[in-house]
Each structure stands twice: as structure tokens, then as C-alpha cells.
């Protein structure tokens, strides 16, 4: 299971970084979202991976770490708000500059 989780995190982060490096705002937004998922999963895994155990002391023999779940919850909420903001900003950038290029204008198509 460790290998599977590690692979998933790796693929998510790699895809996220790749998309972040593209020149279109939409891919950058998607990239940051995927990067956020990868990071959240990583944070979650840092408490140790356990199957079928609840995060309540006393309710299970070997409880999982509840703190990482709280951290991930916070990170998800913040990440969600930031993504929403970024989408609005990307739309405004598109509206004001008539281009979805991250620099406001496309070097190749400007002419």
C-alpha cells in the first residue's frame, strides 16, 4: 500500500508541476489543483498508513493519527478558497488582456 500511495502522490505532483509550467492560465490552475491534491495526500500519509482503523482513541485497537486528518482538512479548505480566487483572477486577466496567456500576451501570435 505504501508503494501505491507513494506512486499516486508522485504522479499527482509530477502532473501538477508539468501543468504549472504551461503558458495558459487554465492549465496553471489545473496544475496547482493537482499539486494541492498530491500535497494533501502526502500530508495525510505522514501520520502513518493504516487500514480499517478509526481516528478515535479507545474505539479501535490501533487508532490512526487524527492530527494529520485535521491538518489535511485545514489545507483542503485553504486550497479550495485559493483555487476559487485564482479562477476568478484568471477570468479577469482574460477579460482585461483578451488572452489567456500567463504573461498577458502570446509571444508567437502577437504580430
Amino acid at each position: 500500500m505504501e508503494l501505491l500511495v507513494a506512486l499516486i502522490i508522485g504522479v499527482l505532483v509530477a502532473t501538477g508541476v508539468y501543468l504549472c509550467l504551461r503558458a495558459r492560465t487554465f492549465s496553471v490552475v489545473l496544475g496547482l489543483t493537482l499539486l494541492g491534491y498530491g500535497v494533501n495526500l502526502f500530508l495525510f500519509a505522514m501520520g502513518g498508513l493504516k487500514i480499517n482503523q478509526v481516528a478515535v482513541v479507545g474505539a479501535s485497537v490501533d487508532p490512526t493519527d487524527p492530527l494529520t486528518q485535521a491538518l489535511v482538512l485545514t489545507a483542503i479548505v485553504i486550497g479550495f478558497a485559493m483555487t476559487a480566487f485564482l479562477v476568478v483572477l484568471a477570468l479577469r486577466s482574460q477579460g482585461e488582456q483578451h488572452s489567456d496567456h500567463v504573461d498577458g500576451q502570446d509571444g508567437e501570435q502577437r504580430s
Binding site: 491538518l71 480566487f85 479577469r92
Partner: protein, 493 residues
């Protein structure tokens, strides 16, 4: 008395919430609420400074949870000093904003308060994850403020700023995950204790995490190679916002200083990444000097001067000796206030020039040119570091404290570049003019806050001796991390 520690976070938070409830059309009420909060922060910061200056570290346990398990706010001399600086900067910046810039967008006042809440929280918190949360609070408010007003340039710079900081947040979370995974704690004091006892692969993982933290703090502080966002963002932000942002880079510097003093002053991880920070800071300083020479707008020039101050400070702090920290803190206070004054002055020049531009080209003459020229001259002398103002004293103390050939060479050359840049900007703006002078009113409500910030420089110079001693006291407390750790963890450590 113990509850005062949380007041610098609660006051702006309550004011921000009230501002969201208030009717948008009632601008005077909103200004009153915002100013009330900023005025209240000054005596609160003074009271807290009084409390911290006695040498005890104040600890506030949120929800009364014991230290390594719950989140704590910690008030030591460094936090109190930074809180006081923030309060003294925020009031003139908001006063300037109340002269009319706050009408250019809907939620200026609320965002301003949330930004203050984030900054104060970051200075107070004793928990790494809580530091992340306060960073996000101050960042999301700063996104809104950076975009305050309109214009395609602002949106473009804002987009870059937001994307970079979101990527930075992701790195921050990875670093926190690693730290929690290996040491099982996120409390700074507890982490400092546990970092001493790490072995083998755990030590390597924590090293990676801490270096990632340096990247994140370096991004906030605008350190090479992560400073490229700053000139565009600051130069395009509205004047009061840019003035408030002068403290934002210092939040990054504060975080580096805090972590270094607490966890990496000795033990197996002593001086972790300090060499790297030293060289990166010197490169930042050199590149900022080149940037200052090549700036085509006054706003851009001032932004590069901010980057220059960051390089100066981080280089001095990465030496890690207590005697360099004191002068660095004095220089930090000076550069924050003067850079903020310069951003406000830059806006005044733009207004009196008539075409609304701060391009460094021959243009229409300035209304009230003599007064503005005198102010610009004083600000330039202060920021570049010529006698008799505070920049000179700050740089002199730093040069004395850091006897290193590369530092002296680069700092002095960068000072020269700043001098050339400011002289060129001043002579272009004030002397290379054509056309008739058009009389424009600048308005007392803009001039007075700018002057207040500018007068900080002679005040800092006059009170240099006691202030340097005070900063040395702050550095002395930082040099002994056991005081902080014992206060937070009690007898448990």
C-alpha cells in the same frame, strides 16, 4: 494581563468582520472602523513590548491546551518588536489610504484589517502549522489588496504573485508533513528540542524539510532566485498597499530568524543552510543593485531598494552570531519605514506630475516641486545610507558586526548603485521638465502620513544609541533558545 497577547490578532479580526457587515456606501463609517482598529493596535503593541521587555517570555495557550499538543502564541522581545513595527507602519499607511485610494475598490478596509491580522499572527504564533495558516491569511488578503484598483498591468503582476505563492504554500505543506512525520510535533519549541536528538535517515528527512522551509521563507522574503515577483507586484500596487507590503518581506525574514535562533543555533543541525542563505543574499543584493540602476519607473526603483534591504538583512542574519542580529534588527526597522515612506512619496510625485505616471523620463514639471524635492532628497539620503540619517547608522553598525570582505564590497557597491539610481530618478523627475507648472492640490491627508513615515528616519538616527541597545537586548534573548523553550514547554523539557 495574559489575554493581551491575543489582542493584536483579535482587534483586526473583529474590525475586519465589522467592516464586512457595514454598508458599502457609508465610507466614513468604514474609515472610522479601520482607523480605530489601527489606532488601538499601537497602545496594545506598546503594552506588549513593556511586558516582553522585562525579559520573560509570555505564553498564551489557546483553549488552555498544554503546549506541545495545543497551539500556543508566544510573546518574546522579537515578536513584540515586530508587532510594534507593524502597528506603527499600518497607521500611516491606512491614513494615506483614507485620503481617497480606498474608494477604488469595494473591500479595501476589510482586506487591510485581515492582512494585519495575518501579519500579527505570524509574528506571535509558536506553532509551525499555525504559522502556515497565518501566512495564508495574510497572503489571501494581500492578493485582494495587490489587485485593489484597476489596470491590466496590476492583474498580470497579481496573477504571477498568486500562482507563485500557491506553489510556495504547497512546498510549505510538504515541509510541515516531513517535520510531523519524523519528529511527531509541529510546536516550534518542541521541534527545537527533538531536532537535537535526530539520527540517521530521520536527520536527513528533517534537513530536507528545513531546506524546503528556507525556500518558502525565501520566497516570502524575496530572496534570489525567488524575488522576480516583487518589483512588478509592488510597483503596480496602490500606494498605501505597497507601503503596508514593506513589512511582508520582513515576515519571511522573521520566520528564518526565528527558526534559526530556536532550532539551529547548536546541535547536529547547527547552521543548517546558513552558507546557502549567505551567498544567495549576497547575489540578491548585487542583482537588486543592477535592478535599481536599470529601473524605468520610480515605483520599480523603490521595489528594488526593498529587495536590496532584504539581501542586506538576510546576509547579516545568516552569519548567526548574536552581535550581528542587533544591528540587523535596527536596519530592519529603518528599511521598513523608509521604503514605505518612499512608496507613498512615489504616489505623491505621480499625482503632482499630472500625467499620473512615474516613468523616469522627461515630463511635465511637478506642482509643489520644491517641497516634494526636499522630501525626496531626504528619503534618498535615508534609504541609500548616507549620513546623517538612520540608513547610515544602520549600515555602519552592520558593517562593523559583519567583518567579511565580500559583504563589505557588495553592500557598499549596492549602496553606490542605489545612490546613482536615486540621483538619476531625482534629477529626471525634478529637473528634466518641460511645459507649464499646473497647480494641483496634494491634500494634507496624503502629505502628513508620508511625512510621519519619513520623519521616522531622523528619529531613528537621534535615538540610535538606545535603539541599538534595545535591538541588542532582543538579539541577546534570541541567542539563548532555552528561555523560549522553557517558557513554552514548562518543566516538561
Amino acid at each position: 494581563m495574559t489575554h493581551w497577547i491575543i489582542a493584536p490578532i483579535l482587534i483586526p479580526a473583529l474590525a475586519g468582520l465589522l467592516l464586512l457587515l457595514e454598508v458599502r456606501e457609508r465610507q466614513r463609517l468604514r474609515r472610522f472602523t479601520g482607523l480605530l482598529s489601527c489606532v488601538a493596535l499601537v497602545p496594545v503593541a506598546l503594552v506588549l513590548w513593556q511586558q516582553a521587555a522585562q525579559g520573560d517570555v509570555g505564553v498564551y495557550q489557546l483553549g488552555n491546551w498544554q503546549a506541545p499538543f495545543g497551539i500556543v502564541l508566544v510573546l518574546d522581545k522579537l515578536s513584540a518588536l515586530m508587532l510594534l513595527l507593524t502597528a506603527l507602519l499600518a497607521l500611516p499607511a491606512l491614513l494615506y489610504g483614507c485620503a481617497g485610494d480606498d474608494r477604488r475598490g469595494a473591500n479595501f478596509h476589510a482586506l487591510f484589517q485581515f492582512q494585519l491580522m495575518g501579519i500579527n499572527g505570524a509574528f506571535l504564533t509558536g506553532d509551525l502549522f499555525n504559522l502556515f495558516v497565518f501566512f495564508e491569511v495574510l497572503l489571501i488578503a494581500s492578493y485582494g489588496l495587490a489587485l485593489h484598483g484597476r489596470g491590466p498591468e496590476r492583474v498580470k503582476a497579481g496573477l504571477h504573485y498568486v500562482v507563485l505563492n500557491l506553489a510556495g504554500s504547497a512546498l510549505f505543506l510538504i515541509a510541515l508533513g516531513l517535520i510531523y512525520g519524523t519528529t511527531g510535533t509541529l510546536n516550534m519549541a518542541d521541534f527545537a528540542v527533538k531536532a537535537q536528538a535526530l539520527q540517521g535517515s530521520e536527520q536527513i528527512l528533517v534537513t530536507v524539510a528545513v531546506l524546503l522551509l528556507w525556500v518558502v521563507f525565501g520566497l516570502k522574503a524575496a530572496l534570489f532566485p525567488l524575488y522576480f515577483w516583487l518589483p512588478a507586484t509592488y510597483a503596480n500596487a496602490t500606494a498605501p498597499v505597497a507601503a503596508l507590503f514593506a513589512i511582508m518581506t520582513k515576515v519571511g525574514i522573521y520566520a528564518i530568524l526565528r527558526m534559526q535562533a530556536l532550532a539551529f543555533s547548536d546541535g547536529p543541525l547547527a547552521g543548517l543552510g546558513a552558507d546557502l542563505l549567505w551567498w544567495l543574499a549576497l547575489v540578491t543584493l548585487a542583482l537588486a543593485a543592477i535592478g535599481a540602476l536599470s529601473a524605468s519607473r520610480l515605483g520599480g526603483l523603490v521595489a528594488y531598494l526593498v529587495v536590496m534591504s532584504v539581501g542586506t538583512l538576510v546576509a547579516a542574519l545568516s552569519v548567526g552570531e548574536p552581535q550581528t542580529v542587533g544591528p540587523a534588527l535596527y536596519y530592519l526597522i529603518h528599511s521598513t519605514l523608509i521604503c514605505a515612506a518612499l512608496f507613498l512619496l512615489c504616489d505623491l510625485l505621480r499625482r503632482s506630475r499630472g500625467d499620473g505616471e512615474d516613468r523616469l523620463e522627461s515630463g511635465p514639471p511637478l506642482a509643489h516641486g520644491k517641497w516634494l524635492g526636499a522630501a525626496f532628497f531626504a528619503a534618498a539620503v535615508a534609504v541609500v545610507g548616507l549620513p546623517p540619517l538612520s540608513g547610515f547608522i544602520g549600515k555602519l553598525a552592520l558593517l562593523q558586526a559583519v567583518p567579511s570582505a565580500p559583504y563589505w564590497t557588495i553592500l557598499l557597491l549596492a549602496g553606490l548603485a542605489g545612490l546613482v539610481g536615486m540621483s538619476r530618478a531625482g534629477s529626471t523627475l525634478f529637473w528634466r521638465v518641460h511645459g507649464e507648472v499646473v497647480d494641483r492640490k496634494l491634500g494634507k491627508r496624503r502629505v502628513i502620513p508620508m511625512l510621519a513615515l519619513l520623519l521616522a528616519s531622523p528619529a531613528l538616527a537621534l535615538a540610535a544609541e538606545p535603539l541599538l541597545q534595545l535591538c541588542a537586548g532582543v538579539a541577546g534573548q534570541l541567542a539563548d533558545p532555552t528561555i523560549y523553550i522553557r517558557a513554552v514547554l514548562g518543566g516538561a523539557s
